[in-house]
Symmetry: C2
Subunit: 570 residues, 2 copies
């Protein structure tokens, strides 16, 4: 049994106990991992010093490559699981991204999968033998689900979350659980249980959050596919900060039943669940597998949208039309982001297979006011209660989003309705903004829209900088905008900050528009390119509601036409 505040322990004792448990699970990995005495700022080269060539090869393979090898029996699920367990253990030692490893149950499962393949001559399902890492608050039967609150330690999963059951039935192996921030509402990852998770490419930077354990782990290649959750950027910020693919699907497509979080029953801004992966194909396989299982039959809040196989941009058909949002009009991105974006756009323009237009921001400041108000419509009483129950301290970024957030309000039912109606008005205005990108505008009858010449996809930054320096990730607008609108959004890796490439950007003079903008720009002026060295630069593709498949297809086209990413991260 875990030490808990309910049984009289201090918060520090609870934290120490959880860390001890975590360390024991890592110590159980075989062969044992060495202690790492000196950790460089960019941790990624350590892997090749510690792991075998075979382990490196396996862990640096993508989901789609592993899936084929596993299906053919060219590698065993046990080999794959062992390799990822070791690299995940190493990732913990250098980034602090793990809450526990599951070597015993994972290897048992892998053995069974290998036996199944041998006996039946076919895989269990499309994810046969694929190791999947899981953000801690997604419930696993028999394991702690504290969601990052000291006071919740000792809550034990009664069952596996719905999503885990489907992935399990598809053949995957669960082997690692990952860190998340206090309140699950930071774009970074630190809590009182485990401290801070850092970015594997530059330990002065954040891995992002709230699915930051996943970001750091997969960025380090201690996983090739992981489960995150997102209500304001929590899948996308870690994916972006670590040079990964990460998809926030439209809400109510993928199963969320059985996660542990505050605010159950709140509907204004539903949280989503989705993949982070080292490959786009990994994200796609994850999402398709879940949708093909018709999860709406068991979880009827989900919508029965079948997987759309048809290519919206077939050869000789409609050309992908991208609207480029360079700046959200609130907080201007740092020069390295804009620099990489320009390079990408130039390549796309030259390709001839993509049409590029500019996308004007539409009141992103107002959008932030609306969503920041709707996040905590009970005045954050459940978060406050969960934190205060153990006397654990309030983290800087918890204060930022709750007590120092001027938009938080304890709503009445009537004021909540009004705020919801305001959300819907904004959504309708944004839809009109999108519709106005159609040159024809309307059809013969003067009313019905034709969407054939509208912008298909928005291309935009993932945040106002590459991975933020620790405790500075305060502007959520580049990701939360698409939660408010409930648009599907996908992160893809493009480049990396370098002192050489980004020296030019240090010369830029800029007069900030507001306080948030000034805060962000000042960081750039203070630290310059050197302050972000090796940080991945990622970008975001956004589609209209329920056009998840179209967003993924657009990413395939962009990758092919522009040859992203421009660098090899690991």
């Amino acid at each position: 049994m875990a030490v808990t505040t309910a049984s009289g322990a201090t918060w520090q004792e609870v934290a120490a106990d959880r860390q001890k448990h975590r360390d024991a699970t890592i110590a159980a990995v075989e062969p044992a991992l060495p202690e790492i005495s000196e950790i460089p700022t960019n941790t990624t080269p350590i892997a090749k010093k510690v792991l075998t060539a075979d382990e490196i090869k396996i862990t640096e393979s993508t989901v789609e490559v592993l899936a084929v090898q596993l299906e053919k029996g060219e590698i065993s699920a046990v080999e794959v699981t062992k390799a990822f367990l070791r690299r995940a253990g190493l990732a913990q030692k250098v980034t602090n991204c793990i809450t526990e490893l599951l070597p015993e149950r994972a290897l048992q499962r892998a053995k069974e999968l290998d036996e199944f393949l041998k006996t039946n001559g076919k895989p269990v399902g499309p994810l046969h033998g694929i190791p999947i890492s899981v953000k801690e608050h997604v419930m696993m039967k028999g394991l702690d689900i504290n969601a990052g609150f000291i006071s919740w330690v000792g809550r034990i999963g009664e069952d596996d979350a719905h999503i885990l059951k489907i992935l399990w039935a598809a053949g995957c192996v669960f082997y690692a659980r990952t860190t998340q921030p206090q309140s699950l509402m930071h774009l970074e990852t630190s809590n009182s249980l485990y401290g801070t998770t850092v970015n594997p490419f530059n330990r002065n930077l954040t891995c992002g959050g709230s699915s930051g354990g996943e970001g750091a782990l997969i960025g380090f290649r201690g996983s090739c596919l992981g489960i995150g959750t997102d209500i304001g950027g929590s899948i996308r910020s870690p994916a972006a900060n670590n040079g990964l693919y990460g998809m926030k699907p439209t809400t109510l497509r993928l199963p969320t039943a059985g996660w542990s979080a505050t605010m159950a029953g709140s509907e204004q801004i539903p949280a989503t669940i989705g993949p982070l992966s080292t490959s786009l194909a990994g994200c796609k396989l994850f999402i398709k597998t879940l949708i093909d299982a018709k999860p709406w039959l068991k979880e009827p809040t989900l919508l029965p949208f079948e997987w759309k196989e048809a290519d919206p941009f077939p050869a000789g058909g409609k050309k992908l039309k991208i609207g480029v949002l360079w700046d959200d009009g609130v907080v201007k991105p740092h020069p390295p982001v804009t620099r990489a974006m320009k390079e990408l756009v130039e390549k796309l323009k030259k390709s001839g297979n993509v049409e590029i237009v500019d996308w004007k921001p539409y009141k992103h400041d107002e959008a932030w006011e609306i969503i920041a108000n709707l996040y905590f419509s009970d005045g954050a009483s459940q978060e406050s209660a969960a934190i205060n129950a153990s006397s654990e301290p309030w983290m800087t970024l918890t204060k930022h989003i709750i007590t120092e957030n001027p938009h938080v309000q304890t709503h009445t039912v009537e004021s909540l309705w009004a705020a919801t109606a305001r959300r819907d008005s904004y959504r309708a205005e944004y839809a009109a903004h999108w519709n106005s990108t159609s040159a024809a505008g309307s059809s013969a009858n003067g009313y019905t829209l034709t969407d054939s010449d509208m912008v298909d996809i928005i291309l935009c930054p993932c945040g106002p900088s590459a991975a933020p320096r620790l405790e500075t990730a305060k502007w959520w607008g580049y990701t939360s905008q698409w939660n408010l609108l409930d648009y599907p959004a996908l992160i893809f890796p493009v480049d990396q900050v370098s002192v050489e490439k980004d020296a030019e950007g240090e010369k830029e003079k800029y007069e900030p528009r507001n306080e948030k903008d000034a805060y962000n720009w000042k960081l750039w002026e203070e630290f310059g390119a050197e302050g972000w060295v090796d940080a991945p630069i990622s970008l975001q593709l956004v589609g209209r509601r329920y056009e998840d498949e179209k967003v993924m297809r657009a990413a395939e086209i962009v990758e092919k036409e522009a040859g992203t990413p421009f660098v090899k991260y690991v």
Copy 2:
């Protein structure tokens, strides 16, 4: 300008002014309608005494028949509009179902449509020349939208509702607006503005509600297609009581932007909009036209489910499997309902093309508690304010659902979340109940469901009796159940109460299970078949969420196999 309480008038003066306006619009119909001095209990034979043979022929044609004739130019939109204006005016005189007719603008529109067809040789759209009647609270530009509240008289529509714009672009003619009850929350139709709307087949019975004006008007054939709204039975009760087809689609498929109602921004139990029609094809054409216009592009709360053309029950393919819910376990239906249902089921069993099983009710009493609590989560403060602002009296059935409803609660945000979570739990339990109808239960991997042998559709009553006697429509469970679950539900006509056919049912002895059941059964014992003579008996088909097309297809199969309706109503 209308007389309003805001300008100092009493509620009686406001009502008198609105009635005067209504009467003037009816007096403007040409040729003028005679006064009806003696109105029989069953009003339907009056039409043939007053209207011309041509008018009878047109108004007793279905949407699909008229659409073809209009498209070919065999009849003109002006002829059709004139005929329906006259029959609608007559319907008002015998059932009190109209708030205003729109002869001038309707005939102007019809003329333009006729000219368009002549000039272009093709119709404006799939609803070219089809007259559509509209429940008053669906906003029309420049007209009063009082939603049945005296205090709201004088609110003028700033624009046409989204749904009206699409239907207009498809070629329809708006010519009549119809009554609704105080608060829009009765399964009957009476308010302080216009008094009570009655059932055209038996004036001692209700036309149903809240879209009761539509029900009475279409039942009388003063319309062939109308727009209703439904949050607990408000499309289906009027459709059922008047022997019509009426469809409550799954929420968020059809456009609702631009209706006038309380509780804007509330999301727990969204209201839906849908058709009532004299034909199933009329309902289908209405829904398909709206969906084909991609309304989600302009109203982004709507879900982009395209119209599903594929037949789920193709020849030689899966056979339609119907689960029959005879009784919801709370309030037992009156014998005529069960009698007609048995007759239908026997015919379906004999057909060999439909599989029939029994469907067990699952906690419909608890379902009612949940939805009756969620209807007014502000404690009905907006309804109370709207009624009390004019000092108009509270109607019996307004009191029934608000002040005498033990489940109404003034929620805090937290208690509302808890109530919402309870709703979702119940929905998940009901989904499991439905999944358990699969004999196989699950697939090879032990988890993924196969739905190929599950029940497709539930067949059930529309209420615990045929059209209720006035002021007695208190049990919503047979319709509100499917709002809570957000399942699409379609009403179709089956039979009619007759003293001869239903004499046997008067002998039935029954010991009620609870107070609601006792209330309903006592009405039967008191009035017997004679009390419901000529009342249509309708039944309901229900599908899973977003299986709207499947429900309509099932209705086509049922009609064909069983030959419903068994009688000709008009």
